[in-house]
Structure formats: C-alpha cells, structure tokens
C-alpha cells in the first residue's frame, strides 16, 4: 500500500510541485498544511505515515513542529526540507527527532525512499 504523506510548506507553488512529484513516485498525498499549527492538527486528524516538513514556516519552525509531532500517538516519520542547505541550520537537524533532511533542490521520490524506506 502506498505510503500516506502530509506536505507542510507555506508556498503553494512548492506544495503543488511536491504533490505532483510525490504522487508520480507512488506516494499518496493525504493533505497539505501552510503553517506549523495547521500541520500538527492535520497530522493528528489524518495520521499520515510521513510528513514532508519545511523548516521555515510563518509560525513555528520545522524543528518545533517535528518535536511536537513526535509526541503524537503513532507518530509519523518526519522528513525536513528547505530551500537552504542542511549546513545553514547548524546541528539542529541532527538534534531533531526527524528522520532526515533533504534540500528542496534535491527532493525526489528516490531521495525520500532512501530516508524512510
């Protein structure tokens, strides 16, 4: 069965591209959210297998959202993404409970599969 995915990003253009790319790679996109609070609510309601989570959001940052998603029952696997490099965030990525980080420029079904299987 296809893995269910929640896309969290405040740019609708990116969400649309990501949805198309993920669906083309065999994921089932079950929802989208534009900020951190909406992401936590949607994750609670939809119970996705995977959350593709942008680091820079208008309210909470992606690391805070990842930490809170970790507390949910049947916590989803979180993959952080950003238009910046992993190095721009120091060791925040390593410290976070997320499975990993993929720069938006390198985002593909294969890169995702390597992180979450």
């Amino acid at each position: 069965m296809a893995k269910s995915v929640l896309i969290v990003d405040d740019h609708p253009g990116f969400r649309a591209s990501a949805r198309r790319m993920l669906e083309a790679s065999g994921y089932a996109v079950v929802g989208e959210a534009a900020d951190g609070e909406a992401a936590i609510a949607a994750a609670g309601a939809l119970g996705p297998d995977l959350v593709l989570l942008d680091v820079q959001l208008p309210d909470l940052d992606g690391f805070a959202v990842a930490a809170r998603l970790q507390g949910l029952e049947g916590a989803p696997a979180v993959v952080l993404t950003s238009s910046r490099d992993r190095a721009d965030f120091g060791d925040a990525v390593a410290e976070s409970p997320a499975r990993g980080f993929i720069a938006k420029a390198e985002l593909s079904g294969r890169a995702l599969a390597e992180l979450v299987g």
Binding site: F14, S17, A18, R20, A24, S83, A105, L107, S108
Partner: protein
C-alpha cells in the same frame, strides 16, 4: 554719553543744588539748632550718599544698590527742609525726614545684590517703610510742633488736626516699635549673612556691616533714649556720632559694591550660564538625534539585508525549486510519456519567465540601473510609467548630480509613489524635482485623501534618515481632504 549717564549727571547737579539750598535754609532758620551740626549732617550724609550712589549706579547699572543709595541721599535733604521758616516747607520736611532710615534698612538687608529674597528681608524693609511713610504722615497730621519742647520758634503745622494729642503719641510709639523691630531684624539678617559667607564674600560685606551695624546701633539708641527722655549732652554726642557714621556709610557701600564681583558677576554669570545651559541642552538633543539616526541607518541596513534575503528566498528561489522539481519530473516522464513531459517543460518555461521577471524587479529595487546609466530624469520617467496611479512629472533635472543625491531623490519619489498607490486613493500624483541654489528640491504631491501620519510606517522614516545623512530634510504635509505632499530638500553643492 549714554542716556543713563546724562540722567545721572543731571541728578548729581540736582543733588549739589539741593545741598546749597539746604545750607541756605539751615543758616537762615529761626528754630534749627544746633545749625552747624544739622547742616553738617544734611550735607555729609546727603551729598555722600547721592554722589557715591550715582557713581555706583553708573558702574553697576543692573544693580539696585546704586539707585537706593541715590534715593537715600536725596531724602536726607528733607532734614534741611525742617529748618525752613515757611510752614509748608517745614511740614514737608517733617513728613520726609525719617525716610532715609527706611532706605538704609532696605540697603543693608539687600546688600550686595540689591534684591530682597527672603520673607524676613521683606518684613524688615516693609516695617521700615511703614513706620517712616504712612505712620509718619499720620503722626505729622496730629503733631503741633509749636507745643514741642525742643522746637522753639518752629512754624505752625498747616495741616494740624487739633484736639487729639493722644493720637500723635500713640502713633509715635507704634513707629518706634516698628522701627526697632525693623532694625533688630535687619541686624539679625546682617549677622546671619556675615556668618554664612565665605572669606571672599566677607571682604565685600565687612565694611558695610561694620559701618551699618554701628549706624543702626546709634539709631536704636536715639530711638529708645529719645523716648525715655535724654540729656542734651547725650543728644549732642549721638547726633555728632550719627553725622560721622552716616557720612561714612555710603563709602562703605561703595567699597563693598566695587569689591563685590556679585553685583556685576551675578547677572552676567547667570545670563551666561543660562545661555550655556541652553546651548548644552540643544547640543545634547542634537547628539541624541544623531545617535538615534545613526542607529536607525545601521538598523535599516540590516533590515534591508533581511528583506533582500527573504524576498530572494520567498520569490525567485521558490520558483527555481519548483522549476527543478518540474524539470526532474519531465526528465523521468520523457521516455514513458513524452506528451506529458512536453507539457511539464512548457510549464517549466513559464515558471522560468516568471522567475526572471521577478529577479529583474528585485534588482531594480536594490538599485535601478537606469538611474546610474541615464540619470534621474530617465529613472523618474520609469517610475511614472510603472506607477498604477497616473503620474505627471512637472520638473526633473537633465544634468547629472552626485550619485548619493540622485539615489536619495529617486527613492524618495519611488517610496512616495508606492504610498500614493497604496493609501491615498488619488487620481493623480505630481512629481517635481528641481535644483535651486545648491539644493535639490524633491516634491511628490497627490490629490488623494490626505491625513497620512508621517510617523507611521518605516518607509518614509528610513528615507528621512537617508536624506538627513546628506544634510537634507524631509517633510510630509497631509491634511485630511487636501492630499499629501512629501518634500525633500537635499544639498547638492
């Protein structure tokens, strides 16, 4: 010769003439006794007070000690009028003869500044004037000089209110009490001033206080003993002593006043220090404003860099990310579904076009290339073209100006036109940029709603700092219903 000095010389001449007149009155008097001593007192005290007073007045025009001494001198001549055989002149003399003592109290307690500052000083001086002014008048109305023991041959009192001898005695007693109280307070004030003063101040105070204190003591003795009834010999001695001391007193005042730096320095220093304080305050305000504006310029620099980063991140970069994903998808589809891949490529090209346009707009926001290439007039034309509200360029300089001036003028117009489009609801904006007398005048006005708050929003504030950094100024006039006018004046050499 100044107007003041002319007046002072005239007063000096008058004092001299009054002295001569006094001598004539005393020497021809039927009743004055002893004539020689009376004349000595009048001339010594009257002339010395008047002349030293006028001199002090001339040297320290801002200090009232000089005028007070002069007044004391002139009032001494009332004594001479009491020698007159004419009843009316005699009455006037009686009326005024005690005034110099009140002025003396005034002089001593206000020395050396000439000002009455404390309540106690005012009480002492008020009591003195009350006893010698109004009360002396009442006393004079009820006193019959012909009935007095020491006034043989005195003229009759032309204004006598008869049949009430007790009144004069009662008033006289009140006068003596008031006078004694006034002198006692004055002595206390003098003592206190002296005790509180520094060594330098004592150099000024000592001659006055020593002479004044002695004069007061003699006066007090005369008052008290006179009331109790004294021997002729005692009266003679105290009289001679008072002549001597009153003649010395004005020189003591003059010496003290001229030694005093307070008399002159007081006013000059206080004016100087007030001016100094004001200048310091202005300077501090300027420095604070400069510091604040420098802080804002640095802050604006950081804010600008953050804005550039955010604009790039949210705009072009996001478009390029999406473009990358679209291209990658197209590449993956190319073999299996060429038609879908072609559609994705079309989409990618559209996205690329949008990203390019956005970058171009963005670069112009950082620095408009037309401004550096072709100057202010061309750049303003470009702004007018892109403005959603119609813009009329009423004037724009053809010549090239220093780069910072052109740049500041350009951004003042750009920001103002942005505000017109956003807030004013105007139908027309007018831009006028003219070089006049070494200043570039930049004016953007609209026919919109007006009522804009010039302090609201950081855009204009940042521009005001930018203009101020070039020693210019920016002002906003925005009355409700009358449109908004932004005016910048930028020195351009």
């Amino acid at each position: 010769m100044s107007g003041l000095r002319r007046a002072l010389v005239a007063l000096g001449v008058l004092a001299f003439l009054l002295g001569i007149l006094s001598a004539a009155l005393v020497m021809t008097s039927d009743h004055a006794s002893p004539r020689g001593l009376l004349l000595a007192l009048v001339l010594a005290a009257g002339w010395s007070f008047a002349f030293t007073g006028l001199y002090a007045w001339d040297r320290r025009p801002g200090n009232s000690i000089g005028p007070l001494m002069t007044a004391a001198g002139f009032t001494w001549f009332f004594q001479a009028l009491t020698a007159s055989n004419n009843a009316w002149v005699f009455a006037i003399g009686i009326l005024g003869q005690t005034l110099p003592f009140a002025i003396l109290v005034h002089l001593l307690v206000s020395f050396p500044s000439g000002r009455l500052r404390t309540r106690l000083q005012i009480v002492a001086v008020s009591l003195a004037y009350l006893a010698t002014g109004p009360l002396q008048l009442v006393w004079a109305l009820f006193t019959d000089p012909t009935a007095q023991a020491d006034c043989d041959g005195c003229p009759e009192n032309p204004v006598l209110i008869g049949g009430a001898e007790g009144v004069a005695e009662a008033v006289s007693a009140v006068q003596v009490l008031g006078g004694c109280a006034s002198i006692a307070i004055a002595i206390w004030i003098l003592y206190r001033n002296w005790r509180r003063s520094s060594a330098t101040e004592r150099r000024v105070l000592t001659p006055v206080l020593a002479t004044g204190g002695t004069a007061f003591t003699i006066l007090l003795m005369q008052l008290i003993v006179g009331e109790l009834g004294a021997s002729e010999a005692f009266k003679q001695v105290t009289f001679i002593a008072s002549v001597a001391i009153f003649a010395c007193l004005p020189f003591a005042f003059l010496l003290g006043l001229l030694r005093s730096r307070i008399g002159r320095a007081d006013e000059e220093t206080s004016a100087l220090s007030a001016e100094n304080q004001q200048l310091t305050a202005e300077l501090e305000a300027k420095v604070a404003e400069l510091r604040a504006s420098r802080h804002r310029i640095v802050e604006a620099g950081y804010a600008e860099r953050r804005r550039v980063e955010r604009d790039l991140h949210d705009g072009a970069q996001q478009r390029l990310m999406a473009l990358t994903m679209t291209l990658r998808l197209a590449r993956e589809r190319l073999d299996a579904d060429p038609a879908a891949a072609a559609e994705l490529l079309d989409e990618a090209m559209e996205e690329l076009g949008a990203a390019t346009a956005e970058l171009r707009e963005f670069a112009r926001g950082i620095h408009p290339v037309v401004l550096s290439d072709r100057g202010l007039a061309a750049a303003l034309g470009g702004l007018a073209e892109r403005s959603p509200v119609p813009v009329e360029i009423a004037a724009a300089p053809d010549e090239r100006l220093p780069t910072p001036v052109e740049s500041a003028a350009y951004f003042v117009v750009a920001e103002s036109l942005t505000n017109v489009a956003r807030y004013a609801g105007a139908e027309l904006a007018t831009v006028r940029v003219e070089r006049r007398d070494g200043t570039l005048e930049v004016e953007v006005s609209d026919n919109g709603a007006g009522g804009a708050d010039p302090d609201a929003g950081t855009g204009l504030r940042g521009l005001a700092d930018r203009v101020a950094a070039l020693d210019g100024s920016l002002s906003v006039r925005s009355e409700a219903g009358k449109g908004t006018t932004v005016e910048a004046l930028i020195p351009c050499g």
